[in-house]
Symmetry: C2
Amino acid sequence: MGALLMILALLMLPGVGFAYYYESGDQTPLLYSAFASFAIGATLFFSFSNQDQNIRKREGYLIVSLSWLFMSIFGMLPYLISGVVDNLPDAIFETVSGLTTTGATILTDIEATPKGILFWRSMTQWIGGLGIIVLTVAIFPLLGIGGIELFVAESPGPTSDKLHPRIRETAKRLWFVYIGLTVAVGVLYYVEGMNFYDAVNHALTTMATGGFSTKNDSMAYFSPIIQYTAIFFMFLSGTNFTLIYFGLTGRFKRVWHSDEFKAYVIALVIFLILLVGPVWYYSAEGFEKAFRDTLFQITSLITTTGYVTSDYTAYHSGLTLIFFMFLFLGASAGSTSGGIKFVRHLTFFKNSWLEFKRIVHPRAVVPLKINGDRVTGKIITHIMNFLLIYLMIFVVGSIVISLMGYDILTSFGAVATSLGNVGPAIGRVGPEDNFAFFDPFSKIFLSFLMLLGRLELFTILVLFTPYFWRAN
Amino acid sequence: MGALLMILALLMLPGVGFAYYYESGDQTPLLYSAFASFAIGATLFFSFSNQDQNIRKREGYLIVSLSWLFMSIFGMLPYLISGVVDNLPDAIFETVSGLTTTGATILTDIEATPKGILFWRSMTQWIGGLGIIVLTVAIFPLLGIGGIELFVAESPGPTSDKLHPRIRETAKRLWFVYIGLTVAVGVLYYVEGMNFYDAVNHALTTMATGGFSTKNDSMAYFSPIIQYTAIFFMFLSGTNFTLIYFGLTGRFKRVWHSDEFKAYVIALVIFLILLVGPVWYYSAEGFEKAFRDTLFQITSLITTTGYVTSDYTAYHSGLTLIFFMFLFLGASAGSTSGGIKFVRHLTFFKNSWLEFKRIVHPRAVVPLKINGDRVTGKIITHIMNFLLIYLMIFVVGSIVISLMGYDILTSFGAVATSLGNVGPAIGRVGPEDNFAFFDPFSKIFLSFLMLLGRLELFTILVLFTPYFWRAN
Ligand SMILES: [K+]
Ligand SMILES: [K+]
């Protein structure tokens, strides 16, 4: 666990280094940011290095939650010191939206923002993506959070309280995939016509399923070939990175062995087939443009990236609702995407189907299998409970936002996109809007929902239960 | 099972007798209705009396589904033959809305409808309420549907394939409660100033949690004392009838022993306390009126009755959303109310809470208890799956309705209120609207959702699975 915190601290540094290198007149705030990042890293390392092996599970929840909180506090310094953001709630919102890879923004004119700050903004998403890989592979299995760690291939599950050597191995591989693909997509963007600055920024926010752009028009600003590239890499960033590693090393059978990957691919194809016709009809565009827009928005929303190339709320109320539903999907466990994720949906669908078998044959033992392995009742219960708590937080959150005076669709949209770490939504927070108009309380509340969603709900919620605080 | 079908057939007859007695110029269509009802009863009795003990579980799903389908088909004859409704989709909608105790209507001027037909309309709800008691007590436990039968007090659960004598005893008691309370509330309504016709109609639709009224203004037409009476009897009609029987026989300890009853009462009180202030503020009415309206609408929506005395969508978007959320509650198992019901919510909430204990103490055995009894993992899974399927049908149903060209809130409202058998909703199907404007497909689709919700989803859904059709 101490090792993880060292890593967390260290990976703040390259981010700051990059930011420092790219500064364009706003150097001082970024230097402060670098100092702050180093400070938090050193503090964490110093605090915990002397009790490395003795940190208990319950302290883990607190450390993970506090790590993200600290990162958010120090991460917002560049915005505040530079004056790009002039109040605390906005700074909290923008930073948390970055670190959680949500990508919702309070900036009304992105292109007018200093390039150094804007780079830091993209970098927060990349750091967030890296952080979520660590959590998924190394921390959540130990903490028993979310119930999906068993489906991240090669993860040995919660068998030991110490960092398993194989986990460290897996984590290294995934970082290799993450960093490698970031470089690859950045080079492609550059070759395909983006300038160097835009290419780097979009590479960072593509692989993090972040969705921050340097352009007010998001990806709609760029050429079709760049949009297709973005689609492909958004798809990859929503794929379990272990499977990408298998793919890169030629083990394609193991890739297709994953039920979640199959469901993810099949769902994308089915949604594309179903929606391309209606979008073509209602958008009154050429077929290629309608096809590209449909595929782009489906991929962007399902992977929770949140780039946009067209206003999907402008076609038809039924299509708006379908695109809104995508906010609840999420892509794969073991990727950087947020939201519920396919393996949970798959568990729910498979179990629903088997429930019918169970009521018809009440005495039969009807096991549920994923990737060929039997899933225990405990994990099925945990996952279905996760789904219900997720939906309940969505409902309660929407009530809170609507009580602040916003219409129901805007409230649904803002809460769903925050909780799912997506970015755009429906209502007044549609794909062409921003979150600047919300009051300070709502901004902080939505930031909290982003953190809640990003840390798989339980990590934070457990801190509010007596089980966590009760001695031993 | 044969006994049940005889009962089902027989209880069509008093309904028809009433209708015949009350006819006010529209006698012939009601005579046909009487004949039809008798015909279906006789047919069912004749078909199954010779194989009484041999009906298998799987045939049960089909029989229950078909019984409601047949009742709907014959129940709509009075509307069609009288000409009150001039097309099939509208007749289907109105009849299914009656028999499922939903209470949504396509009639635009209720007071202009002939009194005999209007009485038949109220009677369909009362028959539906009676039917649902039979299903809950005698049929669902045998079929293993819904997972809540174990919480209906004194129900012995799915231990035998034959109609247990104690079940017959329980069913008799519940009918006694149902019929007794119907008479009681009818007498009270009459004494408090309703005319005889209105008192009888409203007595039938109050105890069925039906919500059909003989007035265009629903219960807003009547005096405050009648509204308070309605509140009290709506509350009772949403209570487990076994508990009312205990209450009537003085066993109050057993009433309060029910966790579901406690949750139901506490929720009503909490919602009242939370909402009375805001409603008072936004309605600009006197406090007593605001208090009465708040309590009335909360009780009406949660018990899925659907009477209205004020437009709860006119206050504030946040309050509208809260009232909309009530459509997903439902009252108690073993009552005539529809929807999800408190015992399922209770199971979900308790299990969510325990999930945190389980992740903090992964090796501990953490059982879930309701009414002091341990609930098996199988039932927890079944109930949580029910909740998720319910919500999934809500989402898919809303997409279907919105694709027919209605706005998102109207689609959400129409689907939620149909599935939950409530009646009024939000959007264009608010408390002062009706369902006449929907296209024929949507009307039939919403009718299907009403049946789906009323038969606890699984009864109908199982017919669409191979497990049901595969030989043995
Ligand atoms: K995002
Ligand atoms: K109703």
